[in-house]
Amino acid sequence: MAWDRNQMAARAAQELQDGMYVNLGIGIPTLVANYIPEGVQVTLQSENGMLGIGPFPTENEVDADLINAGKQTVTALPHTAYFDSSESFAMIRGGKINMAILGAMEVAENGDIANWMIPGKLVKGMGGAMDLVAGVARVIVVMDHTNKAGESKVLKACTLPLTAQGVVKRIISNLGVLDVGEGGLKIVECADGVTEAEIRAATEATIVN
């Protein structure tokens, strides 16, 4: 047993605290918005220039001028604010966004992250990922612990081109929760039905404790 996509998103949502400004990446991180705990108010940022992302529109509400960073149509909320892209990244670079939750191809035990290119494969670009991981105070990665070939994505050192060095604070995988710390990763929590031994077996990185 391990967590599925929705359970990973639900676990990541437990990281959110009342009053936070948060940027969610594409994929599983987007699902985090469905699990925001009751009584916790968070404002979601979209790096194309919006604070306060609302739900997807109904057919009648669709507006070509209102999209998120994944280019999906969205809606506004009563506290929504719009701004241009340089302002958007000023608040990201300036450390105003409390948390970024994003996916990754690889994370290393020192907090390095690779999530934008695989050499020899089609390169689409880094978008805002490099700015987000470099500028946001707390970076949390949500990803599967291993790749399709069963190889660990939690490594001693990243093999793919980096998105940033030493920025990841916590990894939430299908197997559990690990923190980046002195000398390696620390197991914080095991997913339902997963043992520490199973996490260790699926992790190439050093695990301390």
Partner: protein, 231 residues
Amino acid sequence: MKKVYGSAHDALDGLLFDGMTIAAGGFGLCGIPELLIDAIREAGTKDITVASNNCGVDDFGLGVLLKTRQIRKMMSSYVGENAEFMRQYLSGELELEFNPQGTLAERMRAGGAGIPGFYTKTGVGTVIAEGKEHKEFGGETYILERAIVADLAIVKAWKADTTGNAIFRKTARNFNPPAAKCGKICVLEVEEIVETGMLDPDAIHLPGIYVHRLIQGQHEKRIEQRTVRAA
């Protein structure tokens, strides 16, 4: 001075030349200067370097200038939506300079603000930092990024008055203000031109000083990812 022109073709008269650099506003297909892009296609200007976050899709936005081989180089952060882009890039016909999205926006903003470069943490320790000056501030490493000043900026807003004071709508603002500011000349297309005095001066997003020429027209405003919930 008259800023309002009758068509995109007229507004670009005398501004286009082979080998020029153009900054374009828009994010994905949202808020793109679709009328000016079409007029550049008709003009046939070649070897253009375009600074724009994305490059449209195969048959809309900047993608139409790829199809006609008018673009020599793109400066972008994400180009994943465009098959023709990938084909030209992989065959070596098209140059590509990847910029982190915030770095691209700030390079434009800086270019318009008379700031030739700035230091940022974004990209430190990655391929983006290769060949760039590194400098420490307060024990942290930053890299030098240089401003972009374009020969021409093409941007899209919602409304403008006849002096070029402009207002954007929702997330269609995106890269348009920084792109407008970094152009030596800026041509703006809007959905509606109103008489001067009709816009609230407190509500202006882009002051007319940045806008040299102005047109009004019909916009298709194509949606890339129509995502809806049940009513």
